[in-house]
Symmetry: C2
Subunit: 368 residues, 2 copies
């Protein structure tokens, strides 16, 4: 069977790689692979957030994907001949005022219900773990099992792993979905060429809702602004997340001396602007939590768009159009959900059905 994957971000490449490993012939089409949300993502692998209450199925999917991450990264690294690296220092969630501490306590209770390894820390203990935290920190949670990965390095490795597994990459802009007799049969490209296949996997991230020829999908762009900084060697051991006057900010160290600070969440369609207000708020909150951030070099200010769905959960599996399979709508969890998404879609393509963990995320759920 010939599989065509529309989109060469983390999700598209991982699906292609896993599918090729199962013996199918796979072509990925993307004019700029990895330049979308994969390029901006911080790579925080921290499934349990304040938003997790009431999203138990999504939480299970996220925890399952986190569980698969070490093996996934190891396997990709070997296949690509390069070390992707997984930072395993855990996440420190910190709070400053009474409201924050109540939120931390509630989060802690929820995490213990889930059986997660979480330590409740005093302010002093939090600062012992991350000495660069402001002295104003009142307390924290250390989520031992959370990891982080550099999405750009992972993307490079997936490109190499996919190529090694025989995946063909076509670096041309997609013009539209090709359909014949009410069935997806490939992609039409901007250069006039076509790439035909028995199945098309839609992995276009925030653009998944606007592929000409495809049925309408409940996927919209959710703008995020994010910063990258240099000179952070030794500043933080692991990811720090904080609530600053109701705004969430996260600081994710990566590489030798880099730091990601993110991210705004804005409903502005595909607005590409990096705004004064967005950059200000991120810098302000990051400096508030870790004053030493002030001295770092600001090397990148980026805007990208998350693929948001109606319920913040991904769209996995069959679409309303025969031959078109969905691997999109991952919203803020694209990096985290890459391993489980790739495995689930590869299984669907080879066996005809999604594994149980992915079944709650079919498009059907919106029809009920």
């Amino acid at each position: 069977m010939n599989v065509v994957v529309a989109g060469g971000g983390l999700i598209g490449l991982a699906v292609a790689w896993r599918t090729a490993q199962r013996g199918l012939s796979v072509t990925v089409v993307d004019d700029a692979p990895g330049s979308g949300a994969s390029y901006a993502a911080a790579g925080m692998l921290a499934p349990v957030t304040e938003a997790s209450y009431g999203e138990e199925a999504l939480l299970r999917l996220c925890l399952e994907s986190l569980h698969r991450y070490p093996d996934f990264v190891g396997e990709v690294s070997r296949a690509a001949g390069m070390d992707v690296g997984l930072r395993t220092a855990g996440t420190l969630v910190v709070g400053f005022d009474d409201d924050d501490m109540r939120a931390l306590d509630a989060l802690h209770a929820f995490q213990r219900e889930l059986g997660l390894d979480v330590a409740r820390l005093t302010g002093r203990e939090a600062r012992r773990r991350e000495p660069s935290l402001t002295p104003r920190v009142r307390g924290g949670l250390h989520v031992v099992g959370d990891h982080s990965v550099d999405p750009r390095v992972l993307h490079r490795a997936l490109l190499a792993a996919a190529a090694a597994a025989g995946v063909r990459l076509v670096n041309v802009r997609i013009e539209s979905l090709r359909t014949d007799d009410g069935r997806a049969t490939g992609l039409r490209l901007d250069d006039g060429a076509e790439v035909g296949g028995d199945v098309v996997v839609l992995a276009l991230g925030a653009a998944s809702g606007s592929l000409p020829g495809a049925p309408p999908l409940p996927v919209r762009p959710v703008k995020g602004q994010i910063l990258r900084l240099r000179g952070a060697g030794g500043l933080l051991d692991g990811t720090v997340r904080a609530l600053v006057r109701g705004r969430q900010v996260y600081l994710v160290p990566y590489g030798e001396d880099r730091l990601v600070v993110g991210a705004t969440v804005e409903e502005r369609g595909f607005d590409p602007a990096v705004t004064a207000g967005g950059v200000h708020d991120l810098l302000h909150d990051a400096i508030d939590v870790v004053p030493g951030v002030s001295e770092l070099e600001l090397t990148e200010t980026l805007t990208r768009w998350r693929p948001g769905s109606a319920d913040n959960a991904p769209l996995l599996g069959p679409s309303s159009l025969p031959g078109l399979v969905l691997a999109t709508g991952h919203y803020r969890n694209g990096v985290l959900l890459t391993p489980v998404t790739a495995d689930a879609v590869a299984e669907l393509l080879t066996t005809g059905s999604l594994p149980p963990v992915a079944q709650p995320f079919s498009l059907d759920r919106f029809r009920r």
Copy 2:
């Protein structure tokens, strides 16, 4: 007489143009003309600041240069065949708390002593003039005669005007000053070539103190970080300056819809970093003064270096080395002082003496 000008920023080009107009043969050497402080400057032409007390000679020079600006811009525009444009809306200086209002009153008294046309405004009057100001503004001064210019447009025009006047531009990196028998005789270039001349004008801005072969000069780099934003059409009519908790910030509109926000003042040598703290402080203060800045697109974050001298005033005229003439050390006033500097140095080169207004700025003053 052959004149070689080291440095093709605003100062170097204006000196070259004015000197060529007087019939001398002029060559400017710069591998990247206009990429230094001229590229970052906001172009505020506002001579009277809180720092002006006790710097009467510098203030006279600045006022004289401001006085010459309209004719200078008109003449450059005609010579270049392009409209440089001079924004003549004046400067609005605003204050927020009691300390600010006392500083405004003192500044106002000083400006009236100087005979400047300055209106003392209430907060309401200030907001009537610039409705996008925060309602928290307590009062202001409107300095009618202040102007602003886009330094990048002015630089482009000076390049054309200088070329039209016969100035030769050599786009090669300068290696060192050439001297023969204790006299400057030209420049050695990175490509091995030499440019010989009877006089060398040193107009290298912050790098003026580190030209190999030249005598030591009291010029050091003073780092400035500055921001440019887009989408500001209609936001401000003219320049707004404010004190925000002891930090000065200025907002200078230019072009159709652009805004410059500046600038940090840092003693860090030639440190090129755009820092989280620098960008944060500028955005914070600008948004504090004009909340609508928050919505603008942040298009550039820049670091450049001002040529600071021991007394913040320029170095004009002869150096300790025969044949080497100084046109540097302009610190924060390079754009403003361009016309008077060009006229003064051209006069020195053709008549042998500086005009009276420039005489206090010879290197001699440090020997007394």
